[in-house]
């Protein structure tokens, strides 16, 4: 049986499989299954039953998200599917691999998702910098139209579906789904108030599902091989496989598809080869720049959404950033604060003004000008930029490494104050 459904076709030393080779390896079987009589309700039940959680960061159950889309004759006729391919979370490099390595997998997932919610149109919101993904995807879309998997009356189902490529022009905030919708509509990418949620009133006010690239790539396997197979893939409480990445000063940084539920140690010490010679592990961000630090003592926790939440962090994107003992933790958090300050959309005051303040304090620490009072101001910002205090999740995301960094690396912050310098610099 297939154990690596997301990456089974990926070999970055050659171009991605063309549609014929992709079909020969069980590709587009799910669309044929739909054509043989699976109704949208059947697919929805399958996806709900699989336990798939969104792979973009929030980990919301995919089937449940889809179920909020209004159905029936009285629902709006036009519905949209939007692919969030705006990968920009610091330290995250998984969607690029999926799009460049096996574009048809994502397209097949899109057809499944669109059929379920009965969306006749989808936009791929692709990061402008992903120039290779654009070429590869455009070519795959063309092939899929030629084979009748896209366009009018797909395989005689009566279902019409078109995919439109939208390449963006930067800004991290576009990854927030309502900001993304504003960007697609040609507006500044400020997030929208929720409710109404996009499932009910999204793109141009129509019911819209926004799914992450990796989430969509999970769907073909679920339909082709079944729920039992999908749930059997994982080792823990969650289901399926996931892409996990490691960056930082490890011996072999990279990205691998692994079952959910493996111990973190196996990823960091096994796949990533452990720390480079002469370096010790100080801590790591488990799922991108807006997750809380975890420590070496957490290495035996499993790669599982709930298990990681128990120690106050999030699995989120599953791409870990490793901090070693020769790199300054204050500098690392400072780098993230600069990022978040720069990427604030500027709409709400705590985020627009708070993050640059935090950023400035970190610059002061770097220059040996940090004080106890500054430290208190940083702690205050963890509260005042936290969940519920801002318009969207960007600033609360920034407080994750900030709050946990202040807690776990307290002595490093203190040392910057007492020594009036960064002792990691030679």
């Amino acid at each position: 049986m297939v154990t690596n459904p997301l990456t089974k076709n990926i070999d970055m030393s050659r171009p991605p499989l063309d549609i014929t080779a992709y079909e020969a390896n069980d590709g587009y079987q799910s669309v044929h299954a739909i054509a043989k009589g699976l109704s949208p309700e059947d697919v929805l039940e399958l996806v709900k039953g699989s336990g798939l959680k969104g792979r973009g960061g929030a980990g919301f159950p995919t089937g449940l998200k889809w179920s909020f889309v209004p159905r029936g004759d009285n629902s709006p006729k036009q519905k949209y599917l939007v692919v969030n391919a705006d990968e920009m979370e610091p330290g995250t490099f998984k969607d690029r691999l999926l799009m460049e390595g096996d574009p048809h997998l994502m397209l097949e997932g899109m057809i499944i998702a669109a059929y379920t919610i009965q969306a006749s149109k989808a936009y791929i919101f692709l990061r402008g910098e992903y120039t290779v993904s654009e070429v590869v995807l455009r070519n795959a879309i063309k092939e899929a139209y030629e084979k009748g998997y896209l366009g009018k009356d797909i395989l005689g189902t009566g279902f019409d579906f078109d995919i439109i490529m939208h390449t963006s022009a930067g800004r991290y905030i576009c990854g927030e789904e309502t900001a993304l919708l504003n960007a697609l509509e040609g507006k500044r990418a400020n997030p929208r108030a929720k409710p109404p949620f996009p499932q009910v009133s999204g793109l141009w006010g129509k019911p819209t599902i926004v799914n992450n690239v990796e989430t969509l790539c999970n769907l073909p396997g679920i339909l082709t091989y079944g729920i039992d197979w999908y749930q059997g893939l994982a080792k823990g409480n969650d289901h399926g496989t996931k892409l996990f990445g490691v960056s930082g000063k490890v011996k072999t940084p990279g990205c691998w598809e692994l079952p959910l539920g493996l111990p973190i140690r196996e990823l960091l010490e096994g796949y990533a080869g452990g720390m480079q010679d002469g370096l010790e592990l100080r801590g790591f961000l488990p799922g991108g720049g807006s997750t809380d630090f975890m420590l070496p003592e957490h290495l035996d926790i499993t790669l599982d959404y709930d298990e990681i939440a128990k120690v106050g962090s999030r699995l989120a994107t599953g791409t870990m950033i490793v901090l070693d003992d020769k790199t300054c933790p204050v500098g690392m958090v400072g780098n993230l604060m600069k990022f978040f300050a720069h990427e604030s959309c500027g709409f709400c005051t705590p985020c627009r003004d708070g993050l640059p303040w935090v950023d400035q304090i970190f610059r002061d620490f770097e220059n040996g000008e940090g004080s106890e009072k500054d430290l208190q101001i940083l702690h205050d910002h963890v509260t005042y930029l936290g969940p519920g205090r801002t318009f969207c999740a960007l600033a609360p995301g920034a407080t994750a490494p900030l709050g946990s960094g202040l807690k776990y690396f307290k002595e490093d912050f203190e040392k910057h104050i007492t020594e009036k310098r960064c002792s990691y610099k030679h």
Binding site: S168, E185, K187, G289, I321, F339
Partner: protein, 172 residues
């Protein structure tokens, strides 16, 4: 704003080229309204002109019949829309967390010294512009940067030398 200024603004709009119009018209078939095409149109014009001048921006607003102020709001929001002239090669330099851990600051100062430009600046010969960019999503090969549409990974000073050399050779 005096009437004279308003009048001069209105006449500054550049007439879009035939190629630009063909591409913009194509995008208009993909979206239900003209406003949504604004960003695509900015990118199309930038592809042809290298950047988006005031005249181009006004030209697009006029062509799409959308308020110039709205379009300017969009143009200035997105960091890959250049509202100032840029060099022939735009270097998008990643200085996010993984690249930072892997020593991108050293690479950045190497580029800064070699080309004598800092972020937001263009070399005197107009060959290179250096701009910081959020995480480029290739973190296992950090430090990384883009030059034009191309990714460059596992950067070292030697690699920077050859990338810059290649850009100059291709131009000549």
């Amino acid at each position: 704003m005096s009437q004279q200024v308003i009048a001069s603004t209105a006449t500054k709009a550049r007439r879009l080229s035939a190629d630009e119009i063909v591409e913009i018209e194509h995008e208009m078939t993909l979206y239900p309204d003209k406003r949504a095409v604004g960003l695509e149109a900015l990118k199309i014009v930038q592809k042809h002109q290298g950047w988006v001048s005031d005249e181009s921006l006004l030209g697009i607003a006029k062509y799409l019949d959308i308020p110039a102020a709205d379009l300017e709001g969009v143009a200035t929001f997105f960091n890959l829309v250049y509202r100032q002239q840029v060099g022939k090669n735009v270097i998008l330099f990643c200085d996010s967390v993984s690249c930072w851990i892997m020593g991108c600051e050293g690479i950045k100062s190497y580029i800064k010294d070699k080309l004598a430009i800092d972020y937001g600046e263009t070399t005197e010969d107009g060959d290179f512009t250096l701009i910081p960019v959020p995480c480029l999503g290739d973190c296992d090969k950090a430090p990384v940067m883009m030059v034009g549409p191309d990714m460059h990974r596992n950067l070292t000073p030697e690699k920077i030398d050859s990338i810059i050399m290649d850009c100059k050779t291709i131009q000549d």
